[in-house]
Symmetry: C2
Subunit: 250 residues, 2 copies
Amino acid sequence: MKSRRKSPVNLVITEPQHCSIHLRLKILGRLPFFAGLSAKALEVINQRFVEVGYQADEMIYAAGDPAERLFVVAEGKIKLLQHPANGRNIMLHILSSGEFFGNLTTMGVVTYPDTAQAQTQACVLSIRADDFRQILDDHPGLALKALEVLGERLSSANRRVLQLSSMPVEQRIAFTLLELGQKLGYPQDMGMLIDVPLSRDDLAEMTGATPETVSRVMSQLQNSGIVVSGRQWIAISDWAGLEALAGQET
Amino acid sequence: MKSRRKSPVNLVITEPQHCSIHLRLKILGRLPFFAGLSAKALEVINQRFVEVGYQADEMIYAAGDPAERLFVVAEGKIKLLQHPANGRNIMLHILSSGEFFGNLTTMGVVTYPDTAQAQTQACVLSIRADDFRQILDDHPGLALKALEVLGERLSSANRRVLQLSSMPVEQRIAFTLLELGQKLGYPQDMGMLIDVPLSRDDLAEMTGATPETVSRVMSQLQNSGIVVSGRQWIAISDWAGLEALAGQET
DNA sequence: CGAGACGTTGAACCTATTCAACACTGGTGG
DNA sequence: CCACCAGTGTTGAATAGGTTCAACGTCTCG
């Protein structure tokens, strides 16, 4: 019953050290967020952005740092963490290409409330918070889009509160896997592969459980033929079965 | 050791049935949110708002209803709830005068993700979502303020995720009481009174625990001289002691 | 005054944590 | 190229924190 094999998660990224996104303008222009802006405006915005590459596990900023920048993921995956007093971490989000993080609100906020860390090798664009503020002032429509983004994050956070408050671990894991599958999954022969290297500890940080418990639940899911997984990767082989475990809607 | 007495929480509200805020313009004008707008602009905005009164426990909207309106609390307290599959509720927020709820984002959102219910008798102003959208278009600065509001809510939700993921019930209750005290407390002879009628069940819905557990913890806090409480009310008599229990910063 | 809501307390039970030992994997250096 | 080792994952047994179910006390309102 050993279904382990070399990780099917794709890790090839353009460049090791420096992040070589030379077509930033194209990337920024493709963001739904900036859709509708003139080429000229985009060019101006583009000039304000800086690109930086990170190794897997490298920290981008730490909770409590002065919140001077807004970031956009260009390539790779970034995770947002919180740090309780006890040693463990809590993962709030995994972000992929095109998603924002850092200081999105530009005003009252003085320090980052969470820590951003590269989950894979990654390339990130960033801009000073007050430059972003300026852009929002110049293009009023953007603030509305930013509202949408924040609104979606708020809903997501509230869903998580609901899960933590009312579901047993197995159900929380089922939900989390479904969300990951939707967001980061891509179809494979063995099922819907979650296309991020993801350890038991990572899943534990996402579900508010211990790594041991996650391991037990995953074993059980594997025995039921619902997921297939190995070192740092997970694939969902029976989506409907997982939905059934989660309770109802995705 | 019986410290019960008639509830010290003030429940007097202007009018029983209809909510009689005849000075809406003044109320809206006082909101930090609308600060800086001209009297003329305020007048226009004011005309778009409607006022409605609610009895305690009355529902304002239910999760899943079409999200057509944005609300502002004029008087009284409103709670925002989520409903897990199992019978229990989860309280996301208690809002008081000047705070927004309902559809703040005006676009993608089609149904309310949560339920709004009057915690006390209350008066609420509301406006159609697309009228509000129009106002945001006319006064670009407002969208930035809305961003601030949402950003603060998001932080709050994330703090709650952290608590649920990493703290035992006692600590979560301590934190929750401190937050309530900060937001709704007012000094009294017996300590910082939390100025909302609040049952054990309410606290349970806020902390992700059962009413029984909350009752046990509260008894213990009362014996330690940290809080005083009775039927539907709670006062914090030893703020520093409560902070110590919560761990560190407020 | 009575009824129903609210609160308290006890005891059994159960889920998830904790601590610990062990197994597998992949990468590194000899 | 192989052996080893650290990181990762698995599994077991004991424990603890919280829930559940149930009974009872107490306050408030009609």
